[in-house]
Subunit: 238 residues, 2 copies
């Protein structure tokens, strides 16, 4: 499961400042990897999320944390890049197909930057917190997509073609429920009060408690049977 | 070869302002596509290249031309992102492996943005001017890489998974020599004086004539047996 030999090896880990990616960082660290935490600034990224990602990188003693600007504005987008309303109340993970919060090719763009950084760092493991249970509506959260990206990475990089290295795109949460993710993180010592999930925080960065992302988070803690450390601006949950 | 039915269909075409991508735009246009030209601004991108890409988009009557900022600075890089010297004289396409001008995961990042834009535009063809003959040292210019990216795209996007659309990554130059590329473009009416290839232009944007990219270009025109319309700052070619 861990680094291929007993040396301390590095891994690039995508970090949104949220619950899932923070759990992934904990998993990667528990496997003995030196962490290189990578976050993205794009349309929807509130400063509060990036601040959370920074705190979390520090919490895990990451060797580096980088924020890459992803320029999607000129290409149009989805609710999360500021062109549509983020839905309230209704779960975004509707059974009726792919959510409106889907951002075209988002994970492909994110993983591409992660791949570039991994190659520069000479590390071969990339961790991503995709999940095909809670986010079954997103095509780029499914195992077959992750496997296809990995295959492409191993054909398109110098490290793989010239040096015979094999990149691995690792998605340890891909088949976990939210409750399982939370239990995994707590067992590894994650402080979830550092994380941020809300799509629509107030000016002080407090979670609304009502958006799809807050609801998934709250339900997860409830199902895990543990207390949610989040301070929500509402107590009247829909 | 052209759009799937007789309607006028769109295609995203990557445009660097250089000879190869300009030829690709000509090929796509000759196949009946409405062109959406996409360029990238990153470390090495001189303003002169982006100005060329704009001219070329206009020349072909593209429906739109977008420039996306690609943020590689924080992730380290290669000669072309400003961290190393661009080699002079020696061909970069050395037989001894992958050139120092290789940029980690570059085409993967570029194609990812193209995929995002294609999905927003609801078009399914993406044209890229990769070439596995003159650039055999680059892993991300090989047919097997392009095929793997296409497969990944068709697993990771809403358009493919929900609507059954098939993205196609089209690389019409992939097995052409530089001379064949130039002859193809001239047959399609390309004005190569609009294009820019030099890695190291003077302040007025004139090509040096000596860098690897200029040498490949000059050799291509020579081998094609046609006059190179480029104005070089030197007449003493190595």
């Amino acid at each position: 499961m861990g680094p291929a030999d007993n040396e301390k090896k590095g891994a690039v880990a995508l970090s949104s400042g949220g619950l899932d990616s923070t759990t992934v960082l904990a998993v990667a660290k528990s496997l003995g990897y030196t962490l290189y935490s990578l976050s993205f600034r794009y349309g929807q990224r509130h400063a509060v999320e990036l601040a959370a990602a920074r705190r979390i990188a520090r919490f895990f003693g990451a060797a580096a944390h980088r924020i890459v600007n992803v320029d999607l504005a000129g290409l149009g987008g989805s609710a999360l890049t500021g062109h549509m309303e983020v839905p309230k109340g209704d779960r975004e993970t509707a059974d009726e197909g792919i959510p409106v919060t889907y951002v075209p090719a988002r994970n492909t763009i994110f993983l591409s930057y992660a791949l570039a950084w991994a190659e520069v760092l000479d590390v071969r493991d990339i961790f991503i917190g995709v999940n095909s249970i809670d986010y079954s509506g997103y095509p780029d959260c499914r195992p077959e997509y992750i496997a296809a990206f990995e295959r492409m990475a191993n054909l398109g990089t110098r490290m793989a073609v010239e040096k015979g290295a094999r990149f691995r795109i690792r998605s340890p949460l891909i088949e976990m429920t939210k409750a399982q993710i939370i239990r995994t993180g707590l067992a590894l010592g994650v402080d979830y009060s550092l994380t941020h999930s809300c799509y629509d925080p107030d000016p002080e960065g407090r979670a609304c408690g009502r958006c799809a992302s807050c609801r998934i988070r709250r339900d997860g803690f409830e199902q895990a049977g543990v207390e949610d450390p989040t301070i929500y601006t509402t107590k009247e949950f829909p």
